[in-house]
Symmetry: C2
Subunit: 522 residues, 2 copies
């Protein structure tokens, strides 16, 4: 996949920017793998038996049938009612029969393609592929120079540039940091216009009221320069709905699912079920609830448009029971990520998971919690990896340094997943014969012909010996990441955007702003 | 396993130290999982197909048959000659026929038990169990207070105490740091006497000349208070032989394998095949060479004593081709660790791998390279995890802080591997019903009855919010580990040692010292 995309990029040849940018990056010694998706060669892990999986699934169906879920949008209620669900007079709690739920969810496809405005950045969602998102939605951001600060438009744009520059970032999972200095009524218009100008990768719409979804869909259409009909055939953006756990889908969530499904655009229904807080303290209970809530959202989408692409999302973790603080990248998180994958496969749907941690700085904890998350999420069969690069503080902060560190982690996993070449040349018996007992391989022709590309060259890892490293000021990984993110921003070049598209986009944003954007009283 | 061992420990009841120590540790809030081995519930990963695995195996047999391996001990040559191997007149390079190699190695058992002087610390080597070693053999050690310094007896003993105190450490893989202020002629005597006094876990003998192995075997016998015959039935210590890659087994290595096998004590034959340096630059070539070298050592052991327990060791990694520096925890390391497991299973032998990194401080790099190592080594089916806790700088430094950090990583993996309880109680439908849409689970009886033990409580991870963490001085994970290792040393109590055993041990060491220890001109 990686190689194919590399060839595709080269085939684009004449495109402005690509070659020059790559040359510039290489000149400075920052080599990256070509753009491409992780391809997981291993069968997904199974943490529970088929019987246990069935118990979880049945428990979720029982929750929906007996306890029910609050659906806080009249339009959604109407869709359920049309499907035979009784609407109670005095409450908005709907009981969903298992037959309806299972039949509806079975209509969603197992895999689909997400179309970027640059076709070289199209993504396959499902199968053995993983799509990696930049971090989304934290209220703060930080780097070593400026410290931690509230999200703002200037940092927001830098993160977009970084996400565009890093080949390990396949798409944008939302605003990499919340640009809170842009008024909420027009934030989605400016934010998405920036995203489209500064990047040519797939992006996400926020489901914060119907109009925001509609605006985002239209902007995706303009960016790709396609007709409404083509957009309806080709998923080109997506949304995430987190559910108000426990057991509540609010109005904007319902509207997001419905509007996206109607246009054949995917929703990742992802209950945020922290065991011990918004979900039972047992991982099994939290997963049963996650599954029930996800099934409800998926059913709604399929009622709005049977066969619309959707993702099963899992975001079960635990809290620190001493303080109530959320914890991430924990053993419980890993286990829930693995079982989440089993539940998604039980439904035959692509699976969204995340790369998360609860550290406050880019230290060893940030790294081990992240790699544990990746271990659970990717080996568990994840297809869409949210917060793939940049997440810190349990999601309260986007770190410029962590973006680069995570991109390196993703590339290392990609290299780990690369097939191992086993043939006469790679088995190297001639070289072993030539060197013989007690010799050294560096000088052999076999080594000289291969050493430049034999191994993945990490962006961050400092492999100097202690003395050389100390003389250089003993830089830690966060310090290296700081230097690299600034280098990437310096080397950044905006991807080409046809002037007709640019003008149409600007006109749309101007018109929508004139209309006042969207109400902010949701 | 963990629970069983906990019960075993409690059953030991009257034993001095155990209860008091545990109580003290708990009083200070440093909770650990009970002593026990990791139990891996997942089928080991397969990075190459059966056909490719066979190609690797056949390439290794071809290396031994056609290229040969230097065997630098007359006694070993004699064993090979007795098995029909031709001894060349002008060289010590022996060509080993595949029939002899395969028939010999097939005699080694797939699993065995290692007996500690405290039976609660006995270990199963093989199957789905993993035994975790403390770091071994670095020339330097460090902590945040004293910085990096050459290994010495005082630090050596502190590491032993730490290894005894941490339940995640199952055994000692060697000297946790080289006590270079003890003369090499008697270092093994003092070092092992310290190990036996300060700990009751399994330890390793260094294969640095026959006499050192014989002394270590006798000291293990004395420590356990058993007869020679019982020791010969019950493996009670082990050794590691790294091979002088490429393709050379020196005298002390051969003697170590032979002496240990004769007493039915295991050797982990572990070629240190750095791709691009002592092995071909291709991972396949390095693995073919690793396999050939391991097979030669294993064959020697089985010729010395057919059926003696042995381990297949893999230690293939890559070098930084810009500098020649060794790299660890890389994608190539992970891949080699996984294929190493496949090769070990091809032979039906337990598999030794390692937890390694090339970082110079306990930073994000140290953590991600370590967790990547663990991912490859453990998911690849490792049974004996060398350098499980404490390794830094590619093995040149033992870090007190890294010992604690790694112990936490091991415990997190253990918790990840704990079976997930799926039953009516854990599915928690009553609690979900009780809380209902929009509620909170903390106050429920279901939560209150479980929250204290519901989740693994990491020793290190700091989950405070950014403000509280900043007010506390923004401690990183290394800082927390520094505090914890000192707390563990403060709480340390030596395990009981019967006075008869102590006296016999002291008398043996005194006698051997009088005899001058061992010559140091090997």
């Amino acid at each position: 996949m990686a190689r194919l995309n590399d060839k595709q990029e080269e085939a684009r040849g004449g495109r402005r920017g690509g070659r020059r940018r790559r040359a510039a990056v290489e000149a400075r010694g920052l080599e990256q793998r070509p753009f491409g998706q992780l391809r997981n060669p291993y069968p997904p892990l199974r943490a529970v038996s088929d019987d246990e999986l069935e118990s979880l699934h049945q428990a979720a169906l029982q929750i929906l049938e007996e306890i029910g879920i609050e659906i806080l949008a009249k339009e959604a209620q109407a869709l359920f009612a049309a499907a035979g669900v009784a609407l109670p007079a005095e409450s908005e709690r709907l009981r969903l029969e298992r037959g309806l739920v299972e039949e509806s969810v079975a209509k969603a496809p197992a895999r689909f393609r997400l179309h970027a405005r640059n076709p070289a950045h199209n993504l396959e969602i499902g199968g053995d592929k993983v799509a990696v998102c930049l971090i989304s939605s934290p209220p703060n951001c930080s780097d070593l120079d400026g410290g931690r600060r509230p999200g703002n438009a200037a940092d927001f744009r830098k993160f977009l540039q970084l996400g565009q520059s890093l080949n390990a970032v396949n798409l944008f999972g939302g605003y990499p940091v919340e640009p809170i200095d842009i008024h909420p009524s027009v934030r989605h218009l400016d934010g998405l216009a920036d995203t489209i100008r500064l990047s040519d990768k797939v992006f996400r719409a926020y489901s914060l009221g119907r109009q925001r979804n509609l605006d985002a869909i239209e902007m995706a259409r303009i960016a790709r320069g396609v007709s409404d009909e083509q957009l309806d055939r080709e998923p080109s953006l997506y949304t995430v709905v987190n559910v108000n756990s426990p057991l509540k889908l609010d109005g904007p969530m319902c509207q997001g699912i419905i509007e996206m499904a109607r246009r054949n655009q995917p929703t990742a229904v992802t209950p945020f079920t922290l065991a011990g807080a918004m979900a039972p303290v047992t991982v099994a209970g939290a997963l049963a609830q996650q599954h029930a809530e996800a099934l409800a959202g998926l059913t709604l989408g399929q009622l709005a448009n049977p066969g619309a692409p959707m993702l099963y999302g899992g975001f079960t973790s635990n809290v620190d029971m001493k303080s109530g603080a959320p914890a991430f990248g924990t053993p419980e998180y890993m286990k829930a990520a693995v079982v989440g994958g089993q539940l998604a496969r039980r439904l035959g749907l692509p699976y969204r998971s995340s790369n998360v941690n609860a550290a406050n700085s880019v230290d060893a904890q940030a790294a081990y919690e992240s790699v544990f998350s990746l271990w659970g999420a990717i080996m568990g069969g994840g297809h869409l990896l949210h917060h793939g690069c940049g997440w810190l503080e349990g999601g309260l902060c986007a770190s410029f340094e962590k973006v680069v560190l995570d991109a390196d982690l993703i590339q290392m996993i990609a290299a780990f997943f690369d097939p191992l070449q086993i043939d006469e040349e790679s088995l190297a018996l001639d070289a072993i014969r030539e060197v013989g007992p007690g010799g050294h391989f560096f000088g052999t022709e076999h080594t000289q012909a291969r050493y430049r590309t034999a191994f993945y060259a990490p962006m961050l890892s400092d492999w100097r010996n202690f003395e050389a490293w100390s003389e250089a000021g003993a830089p830690d990984a966060a310090r290296h990441a700081n230097r690299l993110y600034k280098q990437l921003l310096e080397d950044y070049e905006a991807p080409p955007l046809e002037s007709a598209v640019r003008e149409e986009l600007e006109a749309f944003v101007a018109k929508r702003k004139e209309e006042g954007g969207v109400p902010t009283d949701f």
